[in-house]
């Protein structure tokens, strides 16, 4: 590992020691952050998978019903039946912070589903009724899936970034600082020894002359 390009002085040594201290502390903190994020992530990803599986199967059945309904009815009738929403999901989109990552947080405050179909039963098949009824339930689930999936996506990004930071500190920054500190200390020691021997030499020379 290359050492930093600095002058071997006491001043620099002091600065570098302070930097090493900060780097070590930062490394520890980031490592802790990473651990906690990974723990939260693994909980979220399991929830994500569960919701995704549920949504996939439910949505498939709804869309199948819908396809049946479409086959039985005329184009205009189907337009009429599905034009007006039977259920309006009232969502409120906010953000929250998971380990300082700003993620979406959605609360479904109110879902109006009164079983009121905005069409006459005479012109619409029963499959359409079912799919209209089910779709609003599926959408509620889709909203929570959307929330969780975005959270996992953003958390995954952040975990990756954090991992890079931890690695940069652990394998580049800290060894570099340590090596430079070692270099400066040995250089300073070397200088000290040199000056001591010089002093001793001078002293002996003076002693010699005084004889």
């Amino acid at each position: 590992m290359a050492r930093l390009n600095v002058n071997p002085t006491r001043m620099e040594l002091k600065k570098l020691k302070a930097r090493l201290k900060t780097a070590t502390r930062g490394h520890k903190l980031l490592k802790d952050k990473s651990d906690e994020m990974i723990r939260r992530f693994s909980v979220l990803i399991k929830l994500n998978k569960k919701l995704r599986d549920e949504v996939d199967s439910e949505l498939a059945s709804v869309l199948k019903e819908f396809a049946f309904a479409k086959g039985h009815m005329s184009e205009s009738a189907i337009e009429n039946a599905f034009m007006m929403p039977t259920a309006q999901l009232d969502i409120s989109c906010q953000t929250k912070s998971i380990m300082n990552v700003i993620v979406p947080s959605i609360t479904v405050s109110q879902s109006l589903s009164g079983g009121i179909y905005p069409y006459a039963f005479s012109e619409v098949t029963s499959e359409a009724d079912y799919s209209v009824k089910k779709i609003s339930q599926v959408i509620e689930k889709l909203v929570s899936l959307a929330e969780v999936e975005k959270q996992t996506a953003m958390l995954a990004d952040e975990i990756e970034k954090n991992k890079r930071r931890v690695n940069a500190l652990e394998y580049v920054m800290i060894p570099q600082l340590e090596e430079t500190i070692h270099y400066i200390t040995s250089k300073l020691d070397e200088n000290e020894r040199a000056s001591i021997t010089r002093l001793m030499k001078v002293k002996s020379m003076i002693a010699e002359r005084q004889k």
Binding site: M37, I38, F41, S42, I45, K46, N48, K49, R52, V55, D56, L59, A60, V62, L63, K64, F66, A67, K70, I78, E79, A81, F82, M83, M84, P85, T86, A87, Q88, L89, D90, I91, S92, C93, T95, I102, V103, P104, I106, S131, V132, I135, S136, V138, I139, L142, V143, L145, A146, E147, E149, K150, T152, A153, M154, L155, A156, D157, I159, E160
Partner: protein, 108 residues
């Protein structure tokens, strides 16, 4: 952010979502989907997109992952799921954890 939901799909199946109070939009090809998605991203909080279209505009979807909103959620279309969402899930898991903790059991 806006509390509205939209669906972007290529077939009639998006019509079913209208009954649930979701605004439906159609796109048939890649370019159309991209420009529509850019427009919708400014107006809606949650955008559902069918997996087939999501695969087409994958590079654009990555950009939206930087901010909390809009949320763009791939959903299976009428013809069933094609594994796009599952592969994304797997990708994220491997990115964050380095290992696959959910799917490896099924592979065996």
């Amino acid at each position: 952010m806006n509390n509205k939901m939209a669906i972007l799909g290529e077939g009639d199946s998006v019509l079913a979502f209208k009954a649930g109070g979701v605004d439906a939009y159609y796109a048939t090809d890649r370019e159309q989907a991209k420009s529509l998605l850019r427009k919708l991203a400014k107006e809606y909080g949650i955008i559902f997109i069918t997996e087939a279209l999501a695969t087409e505009v994958d590079d654009l979807l990555k950009k939206f992952n930087q901010t909390p909103y809009p949320i763009i959620l791939p959903i299976p279309s009428g013809s069933g799921e094609d594994g796009y969402a599952a592969s994304k899930l797997k990708e994220r898991m491997e990115k964050a954890l380095g290992v696959d903790i959910l799917f490896n059991r099924e592979d065996k």
